[in-house]
Each structure stands twice: as C-alpha cells, then as structure tokens.
C-alpha cells in the first residue's frame, strides 16, 4: 500500500487530534488528581500541552489537505512484505522478554540471535553459530564479571 505525504498529514492529523481529545477529556482527569487553592495545579501544564497538541494536529491536517494536489510528494510504502522482518524482530524480542527469566539469559540470547541472523539472510553456518554463541558469551562476561550485574 502506498500513502501520499499529504494523506499522512491529513489523516495523521485527525488521528492525533482524536487522541489528544481523549487525553484532555479522559486521561488527564482520570490520571491526575486535583490540588485545590494552588496557583498552578498538577493538571494545568498537561492540559495546556494537550491544547497546543490539538492545535498542531489541526494545522497538520489542514496542511495535508492544502497539499493534496502537490506534485512530487513523498510516498510512504506500508507493505507487509517490507515490514515482515520488522514484525519478526519484534516477535523475537517479545518472546525473548517473556522467556528469558524462565530459561535463562544464555540459551535465550543464543537462540534469538541465531534466529534474527538467519531471518536477516545470514546463511554462513560458521558466522551464524560463531556470532550467536560468542557475542552472548562476551556480553555475559562483561556484565557479570566486569560490571557485577546479575543476568537472568
């Protein structure tokens, strides 16, 4: 899917504007308590920033609308085929975070590193095994022996 710069600005502005309304009317009142009879309440500055953000979101949206027919616009590509490695990496990081405290740093890191390198296109077995074992080992020695930090 290809999205023109002006469309990103126009619809991005609308999305940011809606999120800002949510921030102003729901998040700030529910997340920040009142302190009465003080010159500046804890809510004041976040509310001012939300108002500025809302004005900026409208400005962004209007800019996008005005530029909709502009020639030579930048086109953003949002394609699953291009982003699959990003999703895969994020998936590996999420799995890593979930399992590292259960099965330990070394096994998790070696497996994650090997999986990422393979997914990125590394097919040389010596590099694949060498890097995915030596780097976590080096990191472990550095953190546990030199910095005295416990790894899971």
């Amino acid at each position: 899917m290809e999205i023109k710069e002006s469309s990103v600005e126009k619809y991005g502005g609308i999305v940011i504007g809606l999120l800002t309304l949510l921030l102003y009317f729901w998040v700030i009142p529910s997340q920040i308590g009142h302190v009465k009879k003080v010159p500046v309440e804890p809510q004041t500055l976040p509310k001012i920033l939300a108002i500025i953000m809302f004005v900026l979101s409208i400005a962004l949206s209007v800019t996008g609308h005005l530029n909709r027919h502009k020639a030579n616009q930048k086109v953003y590509k949002v394609a699953l085929s291009e982003m699959k490695l990003v999703f895969f990496s994020l998936g590996v990081l999420i799995v890593y975070t979930v399992v590292v405290s259960h099965i330990g740093y070394m096994i998790t890191t070696v497996a994650s590193l090997a999986a990422l390198m393979y997914a990125f296109g590394q097919r040389n077995r010596i590099k694949l095994i060498g890097v995915s074992v030596l780097v976590p080992l080096g990191i472990m020695i550095f953190f546990t022996k030199l910095m005295q930090i416990h790894l899971p």
């Binding site: 920040i32 302190v35 010159p39 962004l60 030579n72 085929s81």
Partner: protein, 505 residues
C-alpha cells in the same frame, strides 16, 4: 583555571580506568559512526546504561569520546563508501569519495582527521575561555529568566524536526508529556501512572532513548535490508604517495580551516543550528574564497578540510550553552544533559560551583578524546573500509541484543524491556512517517527542568505572567528566541526551495 585544567588532564591520563573508558568510548563511536545506518547518537544511547556503574568523570569522558568518534566515523564511511554516516559528513562525501576513487583515500582520511581535530580543539579552547564567565553571569537568573531560557532551548525542537516543523513540534509536545509521567514535582500527586507503582518515579531516560532512537532505527534499517538497498562501493587500493598528506597541502587549506573553525564555533554555541549547517556553510565559504573553486565536488582537499573543521568545531562549542546555561545545542547535547542527570548533576551555572573539578575533567576529556581519536585513526584507517562494510545480517541482530541487555542491566527489570519496546514501536512509526523521535527525546529531557522553573516562577509571582517579561534579560532571551525561530524557519524554507529546484532539474 589552568591548575584545574591540569588536574583534569591528570585525572584522566594518570587514572588507567578513566583512560580506558575514554579510549573505549572513542573506539565504539568511531566503529558505529563508520557503519552506515548506525550513528553516534546510537553509540551514546548504548553507552548510557553502562554509565550507571561508573564515576561521573568516566561516564562523561566516555560519552564525549563516543560523540567525537561517532562524528568522525561518519566521515570515514562518507570517504570510503560515499555514504555519510551522519548528516554532518554529507558535505565531505562528494570530495572524499572522489579522492578515494582516485586512489587517495588515505590522503582524504588524513586531511579529514587533521581538520576535525583542529576544529574541535579550537572550539574546546573557546569553551574553556568563555563558558565560566557566562555561567557566573547566569547565576543571577531567577525562575522567570530560566523559564524563558528553557523556551529558547525548546526551539531546537524545530531544528531537529526534519522537513515539517509541525511534525517536529508534535514530537516535542509528546516528549514534554512523557516527561510528566511520575510524581508531580511540587505537590507529589501521581501523574499518568495508570496505577503502576513502577511509573511513580517516571519513565527512564535511557530506556526511552534506546527504544526510540536505537531500536526504532534498527527496525527502519531492517526494512531497507529486506528491500536490498544496502550496498557498498569499493574504492580502489591506494598507492604509497597518495596515502600521504604533505605540509604544503595542509598550508593551502589552513585559511579555510580557520574560517570554518570560527563558523563552527559560532553555530555550535547557538542552540538549534547544528553541525550539518556548519559543515555546509564552512564548505560554501571555502569554495567562494578558494583559488581552485572548480575542484570542489571533484576531490578537493580544501573542501574536506573546510567541512570537517566546521562540523567538528560544533562539538566543543555545543558544550558552551550546555555547561554555562544548561541549554542543549542539539540532540546529542540534550542526551548529555540526561547523562549528567543520571550522575545526579544538573548542567548549568551552578555546576561550576558544585563540581568544578568535573567541568575541567570534561574539558580535558574533550581535548584528550581528539588526541586518542587521531592516534586510533592514524593506526587503523586502512582497516576501516572493512569495518564500514561489515555485514548488516550480523550487525543489526547484535545491536538489538545489546539494546535489550543494556536496558535490562539498568535495574535488572524485565518491565524496562517492555517500556523500551513500546518506545521502539512509537519511534518506528514516527520515523516511518517522518516525525522525528529526536524531537520527542529533546522534549522529554527538557520537560522536568522547564516545568519546575515555570511553576516556581508562577508561584513566586502569584500567577502573574509578567514575571516572564520583568527584567531586561528576559526580554533579551525572548528576542533571541524569536530570532532563533525565524532563523530555523528561514533555513527550512530555503531547504524546501533547494529541493524544489533539484526536483525540477
């Protein structure tokens, strides 16, 4: 002053641990700057978790070393691969790579390193001379003056914004809001904590930094790997004569170097302008005043000298507003403020009273990092073409793992990794659609300083906004702020016009 500086040099040179951290910082910055796609900002983001466990001197000299090394590393990949490692080294790429294609990569690198060091040393001397007097004057400032000064600092958001100032400002406001997570600084009321006790102390700068600047950047680079855009151009091997930089070649470029050093100092001491602008102005001025302007862009040593001196002169000059006023000059300087805060220090006029030894150790570290950089580059520059061509299939996964372990090491907390991933996703979406995560980081770092001064000023004045216009110095800051905004917007307009012209051509 001289004795303190001497003591600063002694602290680093005579303490093997400090020296190791300095050399390590320079080497890491150099390597990361030389690899296309990795930046000095990323090097600093990766180093910051380590700074929790070392002394303030070790931490700051390591970060300054990485900053210097990273900026020059960008020039190495510009010369060897025609791929500027940092935007500031883009002006070097044209002449440097042309020389490399002529078999003169060694000569180009030697000119680049000599002029870089000249620029940084020049600005370091200016920093040492003028920062303390400015800081002494700044001690007279109250919360009103400081608030206006912080508003002035926020103008660097517009500069770091990329093409769209609106998008940059949105990123900056987002950062200011993230900076408010935690307890209210005056009344200790929880804000945006969503009932999670961990968020009571606020979001960690390092976690946010690694997520939004390092991991998100890796994600962006991964996309280009899958699209096969990463490629390396090999320069031909250099012959022995072409590898040398003669005294006469240095002499021919000296005027341009002096001019660029002054330009870099001027630009670096003003927030929001940055090394890229300095490099281009230095390069342009050198071309206009050169005896051989036709050589510029075709392999001119003078061109490399002018651009490199100017962009590196910004490094030292950037520390003038940072140390004297607590105002960051650019994204890296804003991150350095965070590094100071991790050590329990707030950069600004008081630091000259509270920790003068540290300030002079920073000066010494800045100067020594250049000497270390020079030695490392002269010894290893032939191997850098190999480092610059390291396989991305190895580099990116390794950096990702470093990010995770670095974040975990901060508090030995898995929750930190989740927060990092959240900011990686936010940063990735921002980068994908040309919102700058750097503006979010600048807003985040300045948020507590700005809010505290603003609220103190309003408390003192009983909510009267006139406190921000009450003294001549506040008026001066307002005028400088307006001038800075005008300057940045004008530069953006010119950049857009230049792009339009290039598109027509």
């Amino acid at each position: 002053m001289f004795l303190l500086l001497l003591q600063g040099f002694g602290d680093i040179v005579l303490n093997i641990h400090n020296l190791i951290f300095l050399i390590g910082g320079v080497a890491l910055g150099l390597i990361m700057g030389a690899i296309p796609g990795l930046t000095s900002t990323m090097a600093i983001a990766l180093i910051i978790p380590l700074t929790f466990y070392i002394t303030p001197v070790q931490s700051l000299v390591m970060l300054l070393g990485a900053y210097n090394g990273g900026i020059f590393g960008g020039s190495l990949s510009a010369i060897l691969l025609a791929t500027p490692g940092t935007p500031a080294s883009a002006a070097t790429a044209a002449d440097g790579f042309k020389l490399a294609l002529q078999g003169k990569a060694g000569k180009a690198i030697k000119m680049a390193i000599t002029s870089s060091i000249f620029g940084c040393l020049f600005s370091s001397i200016v920093l040492i001379i003028i920062a303390e007097p400015i800081a002494r004057y700044a001690l007279k400032f109250g919360p009103g003056e400081y608030t206006v000064l912080m508003i002035f600092s926020l103008t660097i958001i517009a500069s770091a914004a990329g093409k769209s100032v609106i998008k940059g400002l949105i990123g900056g406001i987002l950062g200011l809001l993230f900076g408010m997570v935690g307890l209210d600084p005056i009344y200790s009321v929880p804000r945006f904590t969503f009932g999670i006790p961990y968020l009571g102390s606020g979001l960690s700068l390092v976690v946010m930094l690694i997520g939004s600047l390092a991991v998100s950047e890796i994600f962006r680079q991964i996309e280009s790997v899958s699209m096969g855009r990463v490629s390396a151009h090999l320069p031909p091997p250099t012959c022995r004569e072409d590898d040398r930089l003669s005294f006469s070649e240095m002499k021919q470029s000296f005027k341009s170097m002096m001019r660029s050093a002054l330009i870099g100092c001027g630009i670096g001491s003003l927030p929001g302008l940055g090394p890229t602008l300095a490099a281009y102005i230095g390069y342009d001025m050198a071309k206009r005043n050169s005896k051989n302007p036709d050589l510029f862009g075709e392999g001119s040593l003078e061109g490399i000298a002018a651009a490199e001196t100017a962009n590196n002169a910004v490094c030292g000059a950037n520390l003038i507003p940072l140390l004297a006023l607590g105002v960051p000059g650019d994204t890296v300087a804003a991150i350095l403020i965070g590094a100071f805060m991790i050590q329990g220090l707030t950069p600004g006029p008081l630091i000259f009273r509270e920790a003068p030894e540290l300030v002079y150790s920073i000066y010494a570290g800045l100067i020594l990092s250049n000497i270390v950089l020079f030695i490392i580059v002269m010894l290893t520059h032939k191997g850098f073409s190999r480092i610059a061509r390291l396989e991305t299939t190895i580099i990116y996964p390794v950096v990702l793992m470093f990010c995770i372990v670095g974040v975990y090491a901060l508090n030995q907390s898995i929750f930190d990794i989740w927060i990092m991933m959240m900011f990686a996703i936010i940063g990735y979406i921002m980068v994908k659609f040309d919102f700058s995560p750097a503006t979010m980081m600048i807003g985040f770092i300045l948020s507590p300083i700005f809010e505290l001064n603003l609220r103190q000023a309003l408390l003192i004045s009983n909510n009267q906004l006139s406190i921000f216009f009450s003294t001549p110095i506040t008026w001066v800051f307002w005028l400088i702020t307006l001038y800075s905004v005008y300057n940045i917007l004008n530069r953006k307009r010119k950049e857009r016009q230049r792009e339009k012209q290039q598109a027509i051509l």
